[in-house]
Subunit: 457 residues, 2 copies
C-alpha cells in the first residue's frame, strides 16, 4: 500500500478491538521462573498468594499455558471509553529528522490517568469487585498507576488506598488531587502508618522513598485489613497479560494497512508497557513466524536489564513479597533523587527477563538529559508532551531514525508512547533551567546493592 | 438507526474532516455590529487594524458574506495530528443518571494544549508566518490559549510572547513550563514591562489581573515591536470562524449515524467554543431548515449574557483596542479572585451577542460549587477530568438530563467538552477542601462597572 494512503492516526473501530488478552507465556519454550515463597524458597501456590492478591488474578498469574484469555464484557465496555488508542504515523517527526525511516507510535496517553496503566487497573479492579472485596491497596511512583487505579476503583465503587513514593508525592502535588477527585486516599511512602514504613524511616531517615518501600507498605495494609487485597501496576505476569491489549491493537492497526515493522521499541521500568506492546510480535517471533528487532530502553540511573543480575530477588524493600527471578539491581537499590525520568523500579518483569536472557530482545540505557532533549524535540513537532518515561523510547527511536538517515535504510520503527507529561513539569523545569544531571550508579554501588540478593539454590 | 449501533466514540475518518471553515455571519440577517475606532467611533477599516492584526486575519474578521472559507493545506495537516476529535456518547453518565435522554459530547481536550484553542491558534500562527512576521503576542487566562499558541508558533518557528493573567500564573505554575517547552516567553499580567501595565498596577496595586489588562499589554507590545502582531484566542469573528471546525465535525459525526440533536449546550467565556460548536446548527436555524435549542452557560460570577448590557464597549481594560458591540459587564469588570472556574472575560463575541439579542439562543448562569460537583460526577463515570470551564456545560447538560428523567422526554443533548483539567488541580483542591465559595457580583457592583461603557450614538 502506498505511503500516502496511511493516515496520520490509525484508529481501529470498536468491533476491531481485541476481545481476548494474549498470554505470551503460552508460546515461550522456557517459561518464566515461578514466584518463590521467601521463607521456604518453594514455588508459591495459589493458596499462599490469596491473602495478598485476588483469586482470579492469581489464576492469571500462574497460568503459563492458556494463549488467549477472554476480556470480560464490563472491562471491554470500560475500554471503549478510551480505547482503541491511536497508532500515529509520525510524519512531522520524520520530516524534521529528514529520515527515510517510517516511524509509528502507539499513543496510550489519551485518557485521564495519562498512561497505559489504566488497561490493567480496570481489570484488577473488576476482579476485586467480582470477588466481593471492599477495597484495594497499591503503591505508585510517578503517580500514573495510582491515578489509573483510582479511576478504575471509582468506576466499580471500590475503596482505594495509594502509597506514593515520597519524592514523586513532593514533585507532583497535583497528582494527589486527581486521585482525590476519583475518591482515593494517598499517603507519601515511607509513612509512619505501617510497621515496615516505620522500620525503613528509622534505618534511612530522610529517604525519598522507592517503589520497593511503597510496595511493602501497601502489601502490609492489604494483608492486615479484612476485605482488602493488594494490586500492582507492573512487573507481574497478570499485568503484562492485560497490557497485551496495547500490542494487539497495534498489530491489528498495522495489519489493516499491510505494514510490517522492523523494530519495536519500548521504555522499560517494571516492563508493563514494553511487555504489552511487544507481546503479539514476540509471539510470532517465538513461534518462528516472523522476526522483529525488539528493544527495551531504560534509564542509565536505574539500569536493571543492562547492568543488573538475572537472579531471584525480593520484589519489595521490606522483603515480605514472594521472590521473583528477574534482572535486578537488588531490592535495596534506590535511584538518585535527582533522577526525574521515572522507571525507578529495581527489578524487571520475569517474562521479559527470561526473554531477554534467551536472546529474544535487546536492551539499552540512556542518560536523562538526552531523554528530556528528545522529549522536547518530539513535543515541538508532534504536538504531544510526553511523559519522561515515554521519552526514553522516543530517544531511542530518534537515534535509530537518524542512523537510518546515514545508512539510507527505510526501516519501519514502532514505539510505545506510554503517556503524557502534564504532571511532570517540575522535571521539565529542571531541564529548562539546566539543573538536570546524569548521575549513573558506580560499579561499587551496584556491587553493594547485589549483596542483598537472597541465596536461592 | 438503533441505539446499540452507536459506538462510545464516533471518530470521523481523515477524509471526512471539514475542508473549509463555516462563517455563520453569511447566514445572519442582522450582521454583528462592526468594530469601531475608539477615537472616532467610525467602523474600523482594514488599514486601521493592520498595525495590530495580521492582514489575512483582518480580511476574515471583516468578511460578513463568504459562507465557506477553505482551510489551507498546512493547517489541515496540523489538524490531522489531533483531529478529528471524538464525539462521545455518554452511555455511562446516562446510566448513572437513569435518564431517558441521550447525551453526546464533543471532546476537544485530546491534544497537548488541552482544549479547543489549538484550532484557532494554528490558523493564526499560519497567517502570521505567511505574512513574514517574526512573532506574535497574546494574553492568556487559564493558560489554555497561551499553551495552544505556543504549540502553534513552535510548529511554524515563530516567536511567542504570552501575557498571563496573574491569578492564573500563580494558580497554574506548571502551565508556564509547558509554554516554555514549546519555546514561548510568559509574563504575569499586569507587568512592569508595558506602559499600560505600570498604569494599572499604580491604580490597582495588588490586582490579580484580568484578561482585559493582559490584552492591553499584549497589544501594546505587538504594536511597538517591529515584525510582531497581536493574536487573540476568543471573542473575535475570525476565532469563531476557525472554531467552526468543532461544529462541522460534530454535525458530520451526528449525520453519519442519523442523529438529530434537540439541544446544544456550550460554556461561554468569550464565545470561541460555543460559537464554533453551534455554527452549522445555527446556520440551519437561521436559514429555517431546522430548529435546535441552543444554550450558553456562563459562571454566575462573570455573567455577561445574563446580566450584562448589549452595548459598544472596549475589548480591553486599557481601552486601546477597537470598540465591539457585545453583551458586556464593562471593561473594568474583574471577577472575584476566588472564582476558579475560568470564563473570566467581561464581554462576549459580537456574533453570539447579536444572535442572543435576536432570540436565536438562550443563556443561563451557574454557581461554581455546583460546577465542580458536576465535574467530579462526570469524571467518575466518564473517566475524563474536565476543565472547570467545560464543566459549566456539563452542569447544564446533567440538569437537563435529570429533568428528562422527571418528564420522560428522550431528548438528544449535545454539549461541548472543551478541555481537560490537569492544570486546574488547585481549583479542584479548593473544592475538595470545601474552600470554594460562590461569590456573585451585586447589582450595585455591576452598575458601577457599566459606568465605564463608552458613549456611542
Amino acid at each position: 500500500m502506498s505511503d500516502n494512503k496511511i493516515p496520520y492516526k490509525i484508529y481501529l473501530n470498536e468491533n476491531e478491538m481485541p476481545k481476548a488478552w494474549y498470554n505470551v507465556r503460552a508460546d515461550m519454550k522456557t517459561k518464566p521462573a515461578p514466584l518463590l515463597n521467601p521463607g521456604t524458597h518453594q514455588p508459591m501456590k495459589a493458596e499462599e498468594l490469596s491473602p495478598v492478591f485476588c483469586d482470579e488474578l492469581i489464576a492469571q498469574e500462574l497460568d503459563n499455558d492458556t494463549a488467549y484469555i477472554p476480556i470480560p464484557e464490563d472491562i471491554l465496555n470500560f475500554y471503549k471509553m478510551y480505547r482503541p488508542s491511536p497508532l500515529v504515523r509520525a510524519y512531522c517527526l520524520e520530516e524534521k529528522l529528514g529520515t527515510p525511516a517510517k516511524i509509528y507510535y502507539k499513543f496510550e496517553g489519551n485518557n485521564t490517568s495519562g498512561s497505559h496503566k489504566l488497561n490493567s487497573a480496570i481489570a484488577q479492579a473488576y476482579y476485586a469487585k467480582k470477588q466481593g472485596l471492599k477495597g484495594v491497596t497499591t503503591e505508585t511512583g510517578a503517580g500514573q498507576w495510582g491515578t489509573a487505579l483510582s479511576m478504575a476503583c471509582s468506576y466499580f465503587g471500590l475503596d482505594c488506598k495509594v502509597y506514593m513514593v515520597k519524592v514523586s508525592y513532593e514533585q507532583k502535588p497535583f497528582r494527589r488531587e486527581v486521585m482525590r477527585t476519583y475518591g482515593a486516599s494517598v499517603t507519601p511512602s515511607p509513612s509512619m502508618e505501617t510497621a515496615i514504613g516505620r522500620k525503613i524511616l528509622e534505618a534511612h531517615p530522610g529517604t525519598t522513598g522507592s517503589l520497593g518501600c511503597a510496595i511493602s507498605e501497601a502489601v502490609e495494609v492489604a494483608t492486615s485489613t479484612p476485605g482488602y487485597r493488594y494490586v500492582l501496576g507492573s512487573v507481574l505476569n497478570q499485568v503484562l497479560l492485560h497490557q497485551s491489549v496495547i500490542g494487539l491493537e497495534t498489530k491489528a492497526a498495522l495489519d489493516k494497512y499491510g505494514i510490517k515493522p522492523d523494530v519495536i521499541i519500548g521504555c522499560a521500568g517494571g516492563g508493563s508497557n514494553l511487555g504489552g506492546l511487544i507481546s503479539p510480535f514476540m509471539g510470532e517471533k517465538l513461534r518462528g513466524e516472523a522476526d522483529y528487532q525488539i528493544i527495551a530502553v531504560e534509564p542509565a540511573s536505574c539500569p536493571s536489564f543492562t547492568r543488573g543480575k538475572f537472579a531471584y530477588d525480593f520484589c519489595d524493600t521490606g522483603m515480605v513479597c514472594p521472590l521473583a527471578k528477574m534482572y535486578t539491581l537488588g531490592s535495596n537499590f534506590i535511584p538518585a533523587p535527582n533522577h526525574a525520568g521515572g522507571l525507578r523500579y529495581h527489578g524487571m518483569s520475569s517474562i521479559l527477563s527470561q526473554l531477554y536472557h534467551d536472546g529474544y530482545m535487546e536492551a539499552i540505557s540512556v542518560p536523562q538529559t538526552e531523554v528530556f532533549a528528545a522529549a522536547e524535540e518530539f513535543a515541538r513537532v508532534e504536538g504531544i508532551l510526553p511523559a519522561p518515561e515515554s521519552a526514553h523510547a522516543i530517544k531511542a527511536a530518534i537515534d535509530m531514525a537518524k542512523k537510518c538517515k546515514e545508512t539510507g535504510e527505510e526501516k519501519t520503527i514502532v514505539f510505545g508512547l506510554t503517556g503524557t507529561g502534564y504532571f511532570d513539569m517540575v522535571a521539565y523545569e529542571k531541564y529548562h533551567d539546566g539543573k538536570m544531571d546524569d548521575y549513573i550508579p558506580t560499579d561499587a554501588e551496584l556491587e553493594a546493592s547485589f549483596k542483598t540478593l537472597p541465596q536461592v539454590d
